[in-house]
Symmetry: C2
Subunit: 298 residues, 2 copies
Amino acid sequence: MGDLTGDDIQIKMFEPGEIVPPFSVLDAVAEGKVPAGLAVTAYSAGSFPGLSLLTTGYPFGLDTRGIAGWYYVGGGKEITQKLLNQAGVHGFMCIATASEAGGWHREPIETVDDFKGLNFRVGGIGGAVLNKLGASTTTLPFGESFSALEKGVIDGAELSLPSVDSVLGVQKIAKYLYFPGWHTRAAMAHFVVNLDVWNGLTATQQAQIEDACDAVMLKHFVVTDSLQSDALRKIEEAGVSLLTYPDDVLAALRTASEEVMAEQSAADEGFKEVYESMRAYHESLGTWINLRTVPEAN
Amino acid sequence: MGDLTGDDIQIKMFEPGEIVPPFSVLDAVAEGKVPAGLAVTAYSAGSFPGLSLLTTGYPFGLDTRGIAGWYYVGGGKEITQKLLNQAGVHGFMCIATASEAGGWHREPIETVDDFKGLNFRVGGIGGAVLNKLGASTTTLPFGESFSALEKGVIDGAELSLPSVDSVLGVQKIAKYLYFPGWHTRAAMAHFVVNLDVWNGLTATQQAQIEDACDAVMLKHFVVTDSLQSDALRKIEEAGVSLLTYPDDVLAALRTASEEVMAEQSAADEGFKEVYESMRAYHESLGTWINLRTVPEAN
């Protein structure tokens, strides 16, 4: 930001936990403890359920490219502003990563029945979906998931992007990594600014912050694409099979996902508004996405 | 740019042809006739063949998301700078659209043999590929292609994005629109600045121009995705069948494309450098692209 603004705006970065706990960035910015932060809005979804969809989208929903389209031209930016303002901040989608992996498994998943009684670590909406297929789910933190998987306390875990998981070393303890990441087609973070601080900025400063977020958005998801290639090689070299969930398993997950989204939409108006907006944009794009795609040769 | 820079940099836009002919923007900027411009670099490919790949990528190559990855993290930016500097300008990839359509046809394409003797309008590398399958190709300008197609002088035409073609009204005269756009998986334009002008800018001004291009890149390709949905509906309503080339036709086009790329790489060092760089990045991503993808439901 210093380069971009001739040092008019300078940002000093602090790591999560250094001055604010990692799960309360949005709340700390809203309360003015810090002027701005990079927030995972889902951590405030207890008060505002729609914020969870701003972090992960919905299962089988828009991928990163689609999420960017929804945000910039599908009405997403306006809905995002409204929800963030309700939560006491102004902000912009600033990071959107490539899709996560579907999940690490100790045993292969060959039929829908293989989810029955499966002990699986998965966060948020994905957990509610797997429960419908008979899985027992937990939201253990990353570190505990690793040892629980090692000891066989859980049979599998959805963690993060392959590039993150491989640094944690998950390839040493689970030998099947399944795709696609149906539950998190993209993972987003938002640059949020305290409302009073935001309103005190000049129009030029506001435009510079917004423009910087736009530039970061693009770079971030192409960088996360690129990182997965190296990570997948490393994971395969550790003896892990890279597999795709069978078509009928994906179909069952899709049906269960739609049930969960209908239930959660009925329970909260803000959630419903985000879901319907994302879904309408996705449906308008569907035919085009299929027509433009060329399967990879390798 | 006025908002972003507090009016330090202001850009006055001129339409193609208003002060510089549309095909010579890059040359006019290099010669200092105008300080900067938005250039289709392929129009200067006579002197620098690699510039054609900077405009369209290569057949069956990286799509828009992949091209952005190549540019930002796959070494593409450095190669782009080198080629643009050779051509007398400094510049950045600033626009990358969604894929083009494969082509409009008066009759269905059911086998590879249907390309034999077909009179087809297509520009650049795509034409050399179709020649290998026995088609006669021409690079008629857009306007003339329309009337040639109407009169049956040509049997088909590759033109642009569905959103552009539908405004021209091509749906009234050809009833089959084929996908995917194997020859132009993304279409790029570059913001180019005269070398002396560029070197006279401050570091902040240079960073602001680069950052603005990054922000435009992202918005442009998600906007062009969004525009295709409406265009396809309009095209279908005019009685056009939206089809996909059969798998064996695509396989033959892929093989012929690889032959053409090998020939053109052998003929020019700059072309070879761009192609090998794009291809290496694409190959590194291939497995990941297949694993992350979920086919659309509709």
